[in-house]
Amino acid sequence: MLTFNNNSPYENTREKHFDILISALGYESRCVHIAQTLNGNYSYGFCLEFPDRKVLAYSDNKAIYESLHFRFELWNNFLNQSKLLAFINEVLESISVEQKILSIAVDISSMNRKMVAELFYILNNHMWNTHIIEVSILYAPAIYTEPEPEILAMKNVGPVIQEYSGWFTNPSDPLYAVIGLGYENGKAIGALEYLDAASAWLLKPLGKDKQFEDQVIKENNDLIAMVGENKVLTYNLSDPYDTFIKIRSLTEGLIKNGRIVFLPFGPKLFNAICIITTHLYDGNIAVWRVSAGEEEKPVDHKANGDIIGFTYRLNEAAFSELDEKK
């Protein structure tokens, strides 16, 4: 069961201590931004290593992770659940008996959507019996880069992982698409056409960079015209808790008489929040991805310096009950 840190949703991520930092090793420079910036704020590092596309900043990033003593786990398009859990259990055994909360930070900045989905699926569905697990999603936004101009052919269209297919008990219920807008040309409108949803709601990101916002509007003009301005909501990238509340509210309204598919294009933080939201609805919401796979050209995204965090807890309710009984 997930609970959210209602008391202090805006606490400063840079001042927290984490027991574990999980991140990814890829070709983007921003890969290591959080690991380096928060060096000293976490006890153990666990790095999911992309096996291919070892270009751009890959080698430098690897050297940095090695210097920070991260443990590496190869990502072969799936996450080895037993290895991840074994690592976490190792850490659990090493912390003091008085510590009731294990704090895990997940740097999603350079993870792909499948990796994020598998990771959160494992974390959120595991039976944590001995501790409260506090998960902090960390994200380092990138400095704006121009998107690819042409519409890329897609290789993957469907649930991000099968566990997020959603389970719909009434296929006759209208299908609602909740779409996070990004700036990739044609992706969102193509996905909506493919899905053939009854209706769609669009979530437009607002960030620090006006160029990004302008590009999002430009690339999605047709989609917005098709769906209608009254179905466009905005969310603030630097306020993930508020974003979560908006998604949750929208979902509550739609799920009463419909089926929901999240299409979380755009910033990865939005994608992560959508995934977390599905866990509040017992798997009855689908999360889809649309990607060009290897057709997407590697681009070295550099961090803009910010670190945005969003925290929730697992198993807190069970421990509260235990405390009450004591």
Binding site: M154, P171, S172, G186, E193, D196, A225
Partner: protein, 617 residues
Amino acid sequence: MSMNLDPTIFDSLNARQLTPFQIAQSFIPPEGFFELVKRNSNILIGPRGSGKTTLLKMLQLPALLTWQHERSDEITRNIDYISAFVSTDRAWESQWLMIDSLQVHPNIQTHIKKAIFTAHTLRQVIEAFKFCTTDYLLEHSNLSKFHIHLSKQDEAILVKEIADFLLLKVDIPSFDFVMLQLKKRLSIIGEFIYKNLHKVEVIDEKEIGTFIYFDFMHSITTVIEILNSSFADKNQKWALLFDELEIAPADIRKELFNFLRSTDDQRIIFKLSISPYAQDLNLSNTSGSYAGHDYVPINLTYSRKERARPFCEGLFNQMCRFYGLEHLSAGKVFGISEFDRGNEEKGKEQSAYGLNSALYSRFKSLAEKDKSFRNYLERKNINLEQMESMTEKERASKVRKVTNLVCIRDTFLNEKQGIRTVKKTKLYTGFKTLFDITEGNPRLFLAIVGPLLKKYVHTGRPISDSDQADIVTIAIDRFRALLSTIPAPDGYPQKMGASLISLIDYIGESFQKNILREDFNADPATSFTVDNNTHEKIKELLGMALNAGAIIYIHESEETPLLDSLNGKKFRLSHLLAPYFRLPLIVNKSQNLSTILGVASESEIQSPKGQGSFTFD
């Protein structure tokens, strides 16, 4: 004049969102609908957006109750079956794929899928029956024949019988509770899948319940029999409407097609909708269902644009009536297409071919910059200054026949016979061209014509070429975005690019080359034939293109356009893509696909009737 600018029923994304009541309010029946309402089993064939869902939903009693049309009285008087509509979609399809990953015997996977389908179908049958117990039907003189008065006691008896048969635990003897319990079965299956996939605990498939072994058809027919005991006619007829079967699991699809052959139960007819290509149907199997014998096929695509026009005009007129604009001509709103100028202005005082005419200007302009066109004029003995005095027959065969090509070449060729960059052209505007671009596809028609007509209502002024061109461009962008989401199958030859859109681009650019980059040809190839040299995976991708509406099967009028193989078949690109590739909206000679894709060693063009082969002059 009505000035309704609020979102209308024409603005919805697709028919799924609309209730049967709403669909009926704007429904324009194509010819196929009058075949569909008959008491036959049918297969409705068409790509996405062709109106399959709308037509099936119109057979439901709530829709027929609402529908106002000159033939609605005749239809409702003659209809003698109750319809239950069973939908499916891409989101639901992803659940089938999850079941395929279960760590259970494949037979169990099949049983589970069938159990889901059975529960879904039963819910729709009961839903349809419940409507018969409402008083709405009493308000309609023709449809009141389906009304049943059902007391609480009667309902309880029926519910008990159904529950006993389906092994449902029903605490409250109401149909609503039965529906809830059927929905619960889907939750139970969902729970099983979750536990199995994530090995949360070892769970045997027996834990789900024996209902997964129930036979699909036996379950439906028995429940119908129980419900029929309430009707005066104990053999009340039913129609089971299964939509978008290309998305349903293959086992269920095959089973439904086999039911078409079965004549055991005369109470039930099937109306299935499917996209034009389904590889697993095995239509050539002689033990399978036969068109014309076991079912009547209804085609919702038009291989030639002229056949789509009456439907487009009907839909346009209905939209005008909605806005309170009776007898508004499409020509007044959108103007005349350049491609049709000669045809439209026939018989008018000012000749379409005179020295002051737009056509003359076009032909003259092209002749001045295109030597190969001048050669054509010379060969055909055409004097542009004397087109007006040609006989009608001569003008038809020498001038009107090439008008499309002349317009395109003149627009896009520069003086050096290179290709001009033209950001926006008015060439693909005008009412006939707009209608033709939509292919008679209702969804596309509403997307293109709908906003333009709305603007006309708002301004009272004809829609400019620029606005028309803009909306067509948006429609093309949307369509190409959709095509981009369809990946190539595994094993697809990499040199062809990895996607449907790459394949379509290959073909489109090849035709464009014939029309724009080669010497002027009055009969260029604008269609292709899938020959034996075509890679199997390319054929598979073409099947997806066909189902998406990117290519159109050119079939003989008496042929059923439902394919399980593309070999030897002739296709053209959707007219919607014509502006993108700068192609005429005509069906011409066919070229072998392997030649287009560069597999064959030399070009070979076949005439439409397949008589011999020849090369360009």
